[in-house]
């Protein structure tokens, strides 16, 4: 059953059209991998799904319901509700430098709890304690149980990205997006992050990546983007072993690290 459906998504920055009508759908619990050269619009697509940039037009359906319609105006409050449905892990981690790993992971949920339990102090304390436990569990799950009180600057790039993944998971998004999660990392640090992402199988995820081997092994479905369009899509084996489009072929040739 389709879980996420994107229809005719377009985005323009001043005169440049970065997304020229993107359509795809994704089933629950599946991993969609998006490949393509830099500047092809992959990152903008993820930013549009997280409403960091607003699509100019197009529709996003989630769980069978219309979540976003580009022809409508939404208030900041409405957009915030929509943002909670998606999570985003950034290329440059973007951890908050003034907070420890644990606080990075629990901050957003803490704020949400405080907002929703204005009157009920006992409930608030309970929920905050529970959130703390959950944040600890998540950090243990990403292999950083020893680093709860470390600041981002005290962690390696790979560890920082794992904290960022735990932080994104803490918000319990319906769809978790990764924007080139390993491209700021050395190869040996990339591996620990890629391994972690593989271990999240079962969640609905969209991964933009340059790691072709990872894309092939982990992806359930692959989109190849160029110039703001989806040029080719299909199962990983089809795309990587037998690409039909000339542009896909050319891209994969240049990619080099396939097979």
């Amino acid at each position: 059953m389709e879980f996420l459906r994107v229809e005719g998504l377009r985005k323009k920055f001043s005169q440049t059209e970065v997304l020229k009508g993107i359509d795809f759908n994704l089933q629950k619990g599946k991993i969609l991998v998006i490949i393509g050269a830099s500047g092809s619009g992959k990152t903008t697509l993820l930013r549009c799904l997280n409403f960091i940039n607003l699509p100019d037009c197009g529709k996003i359906f989630l769980g069978g319901e219309l979540l976003f319609d580009g022809s409508k105006k939404y208030t900041e409050r409405e957009l915030r509700e929509k943002r909670l449905k998606f999570g985003l892990v950034f290329q440059s981690f973007n951890l908050f430098p003034q907070y420890t790993s644990l606080d990075n992971v629990r901050l957003a949920a803490d704020l949400l709890i405080k907002e929703r339990t204005m009157k009920n102090k006992t409930l608030r304390a309970e929920l905050l304690a529970e959130n703390r436990r959950r944040a600890e569990e998540l950090l243990v799950a990403v292999g950083l149980g020893e680093k709860l009180s470390a600041y981002p600057s005290e962690l390696s790039g790979g560890q920082q990205q794992r904290v960022a993944i735990a932080r994104a998971l803490a918000a319990e998004p319906d769809v978790l997006c990764f924007d080139e999660p390993t491209s700021a990392l050395d190869p040996w640090l990339s591996d620990e992050v890629l391994k972690l992402i593989r271990s999240l199988v079962g969640r609905t995820m969209i991964v933009v990546t340059h790691e072709m081997e990872f894309a092939r092994k982990v992806g359930d479905y692959v989109l190849f983007m160029e110039n703001g369009e989806i040029v080719e899509e299909g199962l990983p084996d089809e795309i990587f072993s037998n690409p039909k489009n000339e542009r896909t072929k050319a891209f994969l040739m240049r990619g080099g690290n396939v097979e």
Partner: protein, 215 residues
């Protein structure tokens, strides 16, 4: 010895005015500076233009001239009496320093990488939450060094108040000079040095406290 104590007490009284101008200016110009900074970054173009013009005028003319303009201006232009002496000085200082502070704040806010706000947003924080819980402390960390510079300048700029006869410490010392006693004018330097020394210690302490944030 008696003269020394008398002069010290007298200068202390003048220094009280100095510290008063300093403290009130600081307390009012910091928040005003933040408001001006937000205005300068507003997406509403006319507001940005107005703020830019104000900052240009305030930073482009001597503070001494601004004090004179605020004290004598209302009478000369409209024949009405404006503020008293001390309030005039304070208004001039607050507006002047708020403009300088606003530029420091703007630099500090714009210096925080966009990714910080975006990450906060993606996690479902509201704009206000993102600012107060994620951005603000990073701004503080960035602005403390330039801010301490500006605040130390403010301590010494208070001596401009004597241009409209506000009896701050230098003016108190000048009374002695007029009567033939020169050394009190140099003695005022000690008061400034002690005060600035204490502020420097305070700023060092704050910087140390924020050292754990690596940006």
């Amino acid at each position: 010895m008696n003269v020394f104590i008398e002069v010290t007490l007298d200068l202390l009284q003048g220094f009280g005015t100095t510290v008063y101008i300093f403290a009130v200016t600081l307390a009012l110009s910091l928040p005003l500076g933040l408001i001006i900074a937000f205005g300068a970054m507003s997406s509403f173009k006319p507001l940005r233009a107005v703020i830019k013009a104000i900052v240009w005028v305030v930073r482009g003319t001597p503070l001494m001239l601004q004090i004179i303009a605020i004290f004598y201006g209302p009478y000369l232009l409209f024949g009405i009496s404006g503020f008293d002496r001390v309030p005039s000085v304070i208004v001039a200082f607050v507006v002047n320093y708020a403009c300088y502070f606003s530029e420091i704040f703007r630099g500090g806010i714009e210096g925080v990488p966009a990714g910080q706000r975006e990450a906060a947003q993606a996690l479902g924080m509201t704009r206000t939450q993102a600012f107060t819980h994620v951005i603000l402390l990073q701004v503080v960390k960035r602005v403390v060094p330039p801010m301490s510079n500006e605040i130390i300048t403010l301590v010494k700029d208070t001596s401009l108040a004597r241009i409209i006869s506000v009896a701050e410490i230098i003016m108190s010392a000048q009374e002695y000079a007029r009567a033939g006693l020169i050394w009190p004018i140099f003695y005022t330097g000690v008061f400034y040095l002690v005060f600035v020394g204490a502020l420097t210690l305070l700023f060092n302490f704050i910087e140390k406290k924020l050292e754990y944030i690596k940006i």
